[in-house]
Each structure stands twice: as C-alpha cells, then as structure tokens.
C-alpha cells in the first residue's frame, strides 16, 4: 500500500463527513428560521424534505423507470411488449436460473428457521445459553462474500492429492469418495444454500428465542401438570404460541434469500448452473448491457416479494381478529 495514494481518499472521507454536518446544520437552521406564517408546515417540510427528495430521486422514480425499461428493448429505445418476459421463460439458461431461485426460496427459509427454532428450544434456560446463542449468531456479522469464501474452503476438493477441504476429509474418513461440491449441478445449489442457512439461522434463533421467553409461564405449567412430554410441549405449546414470530422470521429470510447475490458471486460466479435471479439481473444489466432483460429480472424480483409480503400482512390481520 502506498500511503500517498490514500491521502486523497481521506480527503474524500472528510468531504463526506462535512456533507453530513452541512445537511444537519442546514435542516436545523431552516427549521429554526422558518417563516412565521404557516410556521409548523414550513418546519415539517424542512425536516421531511431531504428524506422525501432522496427517496423520490433514488428509489421511486428509478423503480418506475425500471418498470418501463422492462417493456423496452435492450438499449431502451423501442417498446417491445412482453418480449423480455418471454425471453426469461423460454431461454434454457434463464429457466435454470429461475429453478435455482425457487430452490433457494423454498429451502433457505425453511431450513434456516427450523434449525434456528430447534436450537433456540435446545439452549433455552441452559447455563451456556448466552454463549451458545452468540456462537450461532456470529455469522450474521460476516459478509456474504466472507461467508462464501469460508464455505468455499470447506468444500474445497483436489483430485489425487491430500484433501484440504474439511467436508471431503470427512467423506474420506467415512470411506466415501470426495465430491466436487460446488461444481456438480443441480446439487451444488443445495450446498450454496447451506451458506445462507448458516448465516440466517442465528437471526431465527435470536428472534424465536425471545418469543419463546414470552410464552406465559402458567401456560407451560398447565401443560406440564397435564403430563405433556417434551415432544408434545414443542408441537402443542411452543410452536403455536410463537407462530407470529415464526411468520416474521420465515418472511424476512425468504425475502433475503430471494435477493441472494453475493454468495453465488463469491463461490461460483454463477457458473456450473448455480446462477440466481439477482445474479443474472446484474450480469444482464451491467456486464452485457442488456437493460431490457435486466429490468425484467429486477421486476420479477419485486413481483416475487409481493406475495410474501401479502402473506405476512394477512397473518398479522388474522392475529388481530382473534
């Protein structure tokens, strides 16, 4: 590293921090000096303006524009109707991408939530609860790229040499044949999903554990007196009592999984039939400059998020009605 190269960057950082202070000072000053007439309205306007403007410029208008682009050709000059969507569902490569995304969205949240729930129940009220939860929670702090590299190393395989990957070593210890975990489709997608589960299970554990602690003690005691065993307790008391939290966890992880990008990027680069919608969206838009295709894939992601959100809203409503 050349230190002289870093100086301009630090200058840029100072500019960034200066922008922060300028924005804060300007907003507070404007609010303070707001005109006397309609003062309240001016003040609210000044407080809201930066957020509303940024959201309009950075999110709302671009999202509308992306929607329009998804019905245009790849340089955005001609209206082509549903051609980009036809392309999506008829191109064999993209169909593999859609299949992979379906695998991710079905398996990722299901397995992560199950592991998180089982673990939360297992460590509940044990002496090492705090440590145990911290251990499973730790991957939440690791970037998807970092996690991808960690697992790529677990999956590492070398033909005819000493294995350096943990998983193949375990396979050999069990007298199996080493396997190219990230290469052989369609199984490789499953092994990439493992990484997502590894990251998200801690989130599930922490939220579900808090919900479990919120189950009224007399409910539990009543069931005990009725002679319920652990298995019955789990299915008939724990799971129904924490249903709302379960919905939250499954929905949150589903949406994160739907948009998964970094794991695939870092581990296989989308090769060996492992690409997913978000990765393909990036490739089409920014590598191949096919903005029509890219926009259509982005819109697909948005449309796939909707039913998940509707499901959650419905679950909340039902809950309120009871």
């Amino acid at each position: 590293m050349n230190f002289a190269d870093q100086v301009p960057k630090l200058g840029t950082l100072l500019i960034g921090i200066a922008i922060f202070f300028a924005v804060v000072a300007l907003v507070l000053l404007l609010v303070d000096r707001a005109p006397k007439r309609n003062r309240e309205r001016w003040q609210i306007g000044f407080l809201l303006a930066p957020a509303v403007l940024l959201l309009l410029i950075g999110l709302v208008i671009p999202a509308i524009r992306t929607t329009i682009l998804s019905f245009m050709n790849n340089d955005g000059t001609k209206f082509v109707g549903f051609d980009n969507f036809k392309w999506m569902f008829t191109t064999p490569d993209i169909r593999v991408v859609l299949r992979n995304t379906a695998m991710w969205v079905i398996l990722g949240p299901l397995v992560a939530t199950s592991v998180g729930l089982v673990y939360a129940v297992l460590v509940d009220k044990t002496k090492f609860e705090k440590l145990a939860k911290s251990l499973i929670f730790l991957p939440m702090a690791i970037s998807f790229v970092g996690a991808g590299i960690i697992w790529k190393f677990v999956y590492a395989g070398r033909v005819g040499k000493n294995e350096i990957g943990l998983l193949n070593q375990l396979v050999i210890a069990a007298h199996g044949t080493p396997w190219a975990w990230t290469v052989r489709a369609p199984w490789n997608t499953l092994f990439l999903i493992v990484v997502m589960v590894w990251i998200q299970a801690g989130f599930a554990t922490v939220v579900l554990s808090a919900a479990i602690k919120g189950i009224p003690a007399d409910t539990v005691e009543a069931a005990r007196i009725d002679g319920a065993n652990s298995w019955q307790m789990f299915w008939q008391i724990t799971v129904p009592s924490i249903r709302p939290a379960l919905v939250v966890v499954v929905v949150t992880i589903s949406i994160a999984t739907l948009k998964v990008f970094d794991i695939v990027r870092a581990m296989t680069g989308g090769n060996f039939d492992t690409s997913v919608v978000a990765n393909e969206m990036y490739n089409q838009s920014f590598r191949y400059n096919e903005s029509g295709h890219g926009a259509a894939l982005a819109l697909l992601l948005f449309l796939l998020v909707l039913p998940i959100v509707f499901y959650q809203v419905r679950a909340i409503r039902q809950r309120r009605e009871i």
């Binding site: 950082l13 921090i17 003040q43 940024l54 705090k130 970037s143 590894w198 003690a217 939250v248």
Partner: protein, 310 residues
Amino acid sequence: MTTNAAMLPTAERLADPMGPDNDNMGSRVRRGLSGRGASVAAILIAIVWTLPTFGLFVTSFRPVKDINSSGWWTFFAHPNLTFQNYTDVLFGASTSSGRLASYAVNSLVITIPAVILPVAIASFAAYALAWGHFKGRDWVYIGIFALQIVPLQMALIPLLQVFTSTHTPVFMRVWLAHTCFALPVGVFLLHNFMSELPREVFEAARVDGAGHAQIFRKIVLPLIVPALASLAIFQFLWVWNDLLVALVFSDGTEKSAPITQRLAGLAGTRGNDWQRLTSGAFVSIVVPLIVFLGLQRYFVRGLLAGSVKG
C-alpha cells in the same frame, strides 16, 4: 424487511436480550427439551456453526506450502505459524497479491458517510412524521414504510444512468445509493421508537416556547440514542458487507472499490490461492466482528424491535 414490532417482545423489556431471562417463574419451569440428547444436539449445531470460521482462521496463519499440502486440522499436530499471508495480502507490491489495505481504506471511506447521512436524514423525517401535525401525515409515513419492499435491484439501472450522465464522483454515488436504500427502514425504525416517547414531554417543551429544532436537539436526540445506535450498527454492517451496490457504482479499482468487491474478485480469478483468500477474508470480517461483538446488545434490540433490511 418489515417485521411487525407489536408481535415481538418490546426492546425495553429485554434488559439483556442475549441472556436467559431471570423472572422467577420462568427459571423454575423448564420449557425446553431436556436431557443428554438435547445437549448433544445443541453442541453439534454449535460446532458446525463455528468450525468453518475457525478453519479459515487457522489456515490464514499457515505457510502457503502447508496450506496446499495438508488440511488445517493437521496444524495442531505440526504447528507452523506465519504472518506472511497477512503482510502479503494487505501490503504486497504485486497487483495479484490483493493489496487489501488500500481496499480497506476504501471500505472505510464508503462506510462512514453512508452510515451517518441516512441516520441523520431518517431521524429528521421520523421526528416530523411522529410529532408534526399536517394533513396526509399518515399517508407519507405509509408510503415510506411501503418502500421497504422494493428491492434495490429496481433502482440500479436508472440510478447508474443518472450518475453517469451527471458525472457524479464515484464515492458520492455509493454514499447516495446507500443513503437512499437505507431510508425506508431507517424512518420506520426511528418512527416506531419516537412515537412511543411520552406526549407530556413535548407539550411541556412547547408551553415553554421551544420550537421543533430545539425540541429535536435537546429533548428527542438524547432519548433516541439507543435507537440511533441500533440503526447505525445495522447500516454499518450492511454497507461494510455490501457487494452489489459497490459492483454497480464503484469503479472497481484500488481507487474506490471496497474490500468485499476485491475479495469477490480474488475468489473468482485466484480461487485456489487459499493463503490470500483466507487471510483476506479474515481481514474483511474482523472489523464488523468487533463492532458486532462490542455492540451486540443494541443490534439484537434493533432486530427484535422489528426490522431487518434486505
């Protein structure tokens, strides 16, 4: 992504969100599965969750020759320690070595403004939406809240076109993009928190003649420090760990690309240089890990208070 705060225990009730609860009733009644099988299962899961990171950590300190000839688990039989991988990957002269120190500086230059800007802007907006009185207030709030479900992929292509045609400086692009994408969740989190502050405080201040600017600075700001902290940690982890926004908006070189982008690049082009990948990955992990472990309490509270961005 949105989660419903009302359905989860409130953050204030959990003095230590990671610890076992201490109410007497609770500790007398064991709700969990008990017995040896359960402990074994728990320990097994804990091991599976820890071992991959541990293996990476051990490998990053082994000489190249050892890494490529034997598994990291043999390290304990033949300990052979080096810091060479780290000096190489951080400061190495050749371009293929990683030069991660330079990229780590970029990560820092990206992250700090991309955390403090949205936190400030979101707290202004959340205050206005929680305590201002104007027509359509609820609609503006619902609109911002609903934007959480728009995937950032929906904004990337047009945003890049705008940045390119206006020649926005590279770092500024990344800051702006992260700021915009953080606002819906930020406003939501802080609004939740602020609307629970007692009304009397505001009324008393208004009677004393304080304006919105004063109330915000002197009364609200000190009270919402915990909420600001959890939002800042979320945003820090999000930005530091981000790859997609960086790939789209940074120029991909040592001048502006963050450490994640460099690592993903190395994993793609030099996928078997484990000495570089392991030490490099660890360098990128260590900063968020320190932040996370130091401020875990705030992080978990933010999580339970109802939100994770996606």
